[in-house]
Structure formats: C-alpha cells, structure tokens
C-alpha cells in the first residue's frame, strides 16, 4: 500500500495532468452532434500520430552502426508520418463536405 502511495506521490504532477486531460477529452466529446462523430474519430486518429515524435527521438538517437535501430526507427518514423499526414488529410476531406454551399 505505502509503495502505491509513494508512486502516486512521486508522480503526482503526471497524475494531475493525465486526470485533467482525461476530463478535458471527455467533456469535449460528450456534446458533439453525431454527424461529426466520424470526422472527429478521424481527427483524433491523426492526433495520436504524435507518437511520431517518439519515433523521431528513437531514430535520432540511433548509433550509425546500429542497423537494427536505424531500420526499425526508419519504419517507425515512416508509419508515424503516415498516421499524422494521412489522418489530417482524410479528416480535411471529410469535413470539406460539411461546409455550407454558397446560396445560389
């Protein structure tokens, strides 16, 4: 029990950040009209592409001779970019269709 307390205490700021962010996420979504569910899903999908940054860090730190890390990292950055770019572009295309047409 006390190790759990200690863990919580040591990471208290992380816990605040995570809790608050989770609240923000929940509140932001709860009132969204269902028409926008699919674009939102797609937009959120693009945002978790932020994992790309982790891949960049990994590839950036790989030794010049560490081929395993270089190759896997390269793939990581590539697929991460796919997620980010593809995600935002697809979302944009979906949302483009919701725009109001100018009245004739």
């Amino acid at each position: 029990m006390s190790t759990v307390f200690q863990f919580i205490g040591e990471n208290i700021t992380y816990i605040y950040l995570i809790l608050l962010m989770a609240f923000v996420g929940v509140e932001l979504i709860s009132h969204v009209p269902s028409v926008l569910h699919t674009p939102l899903m797609s937009g959120a999908n693009a945002i978790h592409g932020v994992v790309l940054i982790g891949a960049i860090i990994v590839l950036g730190n790989a030794e010049a001779t560490d081929y395993f890390s270089l190759i896997v990292g390269f793939v990581g950055v590539f697929v991460g970019t796919l997620n980010v770019i593809g995600g935002f572009v697809v979302t944009d295309r979906m949302l483009e269709m919701f725009k109001k047409k100018p009245k004739k």
Binding site: G25, P33, S34, M41, H48, G49, V51, I53, G87, V90
Partner: protein, 465 residues
Amino acid sequence: MNYLQEIAYLIGSVGFIVGIKMMGQADSARRGNLVAAFGMAVAVIATLFLDKSGFHIIGNLSYILIAIVLGTIVGTLMAKRVQMTAMPEMVSIFNGMGGLAAALISIIEWTHLKHVGEVVELGLYVPIVAGLIIGTISFTGSMVAWGKLNGKLGDFRFPAQQYINAIVLVFIIAAAYFTYSTGMASDIPWFYVTLGVSLVYGLLFVFPIGGADMPVVISLLNSFTGVAAACGGFLYDNNVMLMGGVLVGSAGTILTIVMTKAMNRSLTNVLIGMAGSGGSGGGTGASGGSVREVQATDVAIMCKYAQKVIIVPGYGLAVAQAQHVCHELELLLEEEGVEVKYAIHPVAGRMPGHMNVLLAESNVEYDKLIEMEDINPEFPTTDVVLVVGANDVVNPAAKNDSNSPIYGMPILDVDTAKQIVVLKRSMKSGYAGIENALFFDPKCGMLFGDAKDSIGKLVSEVKAL
C-alpha cells in the same frame, strides 16, 4: 534560449485541445483540424531542431527527413485517392500505423536496455511494455477491422471466444511480468513472447465482431493508440506526446461510448460480437398485414404535386450509390416548386454521419440535411415521405414493441406523414434483422428495386409528366 522546446510542446498540446474542441462544431470543424495539424507541425519541428538546452539539430536528420517525406507522400496520396465511402477503412489503416509506430519504439527501447543488464527500472519498463502491448493490439486489430470493412474478411466466431480472449489477455500480462522479473537472464525471450501474443490478441479481439460494428471498434482502437502514444510520453518525459495521447485516449473512449449509445447498444454488447447479421441478411418478413406495391409513375405524380417531400436516406442509399441521382430528383422537384428536405437519423447507414458524408458528396446543401429531433415535428405537415433504403431507423417497433431488440431507439416518425413510399429491393429486414410494421401501414407503398434504378425512374417520370 532555453525552454523553447517546452514552449513549442505547450503550443502543440493546446493546438490539440483547441483543435478537438473546434472539430466538435460543424461550422468550425474544418479549421479545427487545421489547428490540430498546426500543433503537430510545431511539435515535430521542435523535436527536430530543439532540445532541452536550446537549438540542437537531432541526429540522423537526413534519415528522419527521408522517412517523413516518404510518409507524407504516401499518406497524402492514400488519403486523397480514397473514395468517400471507404473513409472508415482509411482511418483504420492510419490508426494501425500509429499503433505500429508505438510498438516499434518499445522494441527499440527494449533492445537498448539489453546493455543495461539484468535489472530494469520499473518506471522505464512499464511505459515500454504498455506501449508495446497496446500498440500491437491496436495495429493488428486495425488491420482486421480494415479487412472486414472492405469485405475481404468475414465474421469469424469460435466457441467460448470471450473466455479464450480473456485467457490470452491474462497470458500477455503474465509474459510481461516475466519479462520484468527475469530481466535479460531468462532462456525464454519473454519480451518477444509478449509481443507475439499481443499480435495474436489483436486478431482475436476484432475477428468475432460483426462487420457493421467496425466503426465502433475503430474508435476504440483509436483510443488504444492514444494510450500507447501517452506511454511514449512517459518514457521520454515528453509533454506533447503525453498530452496528445491522453487526450485521444479519453476522447476516443467517450466517442466510442457515444457511438454505441446512438445505436442503442452497449459497448460490451458490441465487443462480444452480438451484432446483428450485418448487411441486409436476416429473415424475410411477412407478418399479418398485406403490402401495397406502387409503381414509379404513381410516385412521380405524388411527388410532383406535393407541397413538401421529405427524403429519408438509409444504408440502402449508400449500397446503391444512389446519392447523385437522389440529388438530381431533389433539384427537379424544387424546380417544380416542391419543398424537399432530407431527414437524417443519427445512425442511418453504417457509420455515424454516413448520410451526411454521402449526400454532401453529391453536393446536397448542408441546410437541407435536417437532424432527427428537428425534422420529426415536420412529418405531420409533409405530403410524401420517400424512404430510400432505410429500414431500422423508421421502424415503429422501436416505440411500440418492448420486446424488440431496437426498443427505445429514437426513430424518424414517418408514419405521421400523409403518404409514405419505401424504396428497397425486397421485404428483407435491415441491420437489426427484424420486421418492420411500417411496410404494412395502409398509408405506405413499396417501390421495389435497387434504389439507384428506382430513383432514376422517378426522375425520368417527373421529367416526362
């Protein structure tokens, strides 16, 4: 010049939040997507050219840039080329890529740890292994979802699947624990066992779920990938990864729940694969009453001389790709002075917003798409309702029959209109696999045939009149 990176990450995080917020409202949604993308760009640039102590160009920059450029080209092409109706598949692929990236990061970090020796620090190990497991499940799960959505993979159920899945999950956690407790010393490469079993679990998890429920599953896997990204944020003490990941993790979870609620299902219900038959299978309904068949000519006359026509689009409209000809009919009737509107049920079709996306594609004005709550009071003053390939969303059993599986789902009250015409191919049931008493309503006529053909006929008949 310190702290620039932290500030850039802060901007990135705020961009994500504001972006999601704006995406929640129709008029700002598109700009919201751009705001989120801007936040991402700032965060990526800050990672490439800054570090905690100031300007600093990251190692292997050329490789990184090549990978990014390649990813950008491929991603843009895929996203631009995809058909509107195949969008959920696309989202599923991209989601899988994110999961894969998270898993790859964990794999590399683990191999780096090898040099450290036998004891791994818990604070380092937990995010690595959690990122591995969650990322992997999200990856293979998304691939299965993609296969199901484009029809390459069918449903696949096996006995006691829930129990088997639960056992596999327990095994993953055990393997992860062994990885930690035995460190690098064990003969069995527990880490790779964890990886392998997680790959399998992703498959097992999604296989039994009905194809029509894939949007829900993708949304759930989406939030998984968010959590995997957050693990990376922990690992590298990187605020923007943490914030972005947690945001998507929580927003995705709620979105999943909201989506299942709109379909009058529960999440567990979806996950243990109790979906309807998916597609237009199901029993052939032939309940007590009799059905009145009508011809295109009659319907054309009804519409042309009506004051107000409401079109109720459903899954069949999407299947038949009848959106363009439908818009043509709408314009034609408007020229004749008929008021035409579309009644959009939140879960018509097979993904949320399906009808909006489809009709917007054929240039129907956004103002004409009226949501359920707003259009329901209008039916009593409507002369003709055209139900085009919709079924469950106009089924009065949702109101009257407390034994019906869709009982309690809000529906479009088309039966209060003066005349109803249903365009479908047969008397077969829809997604929920149940009969529809509406078809036996004396006010209701059936115009059998593929929706595209039928509407095409209506168009020429109206023109000919």
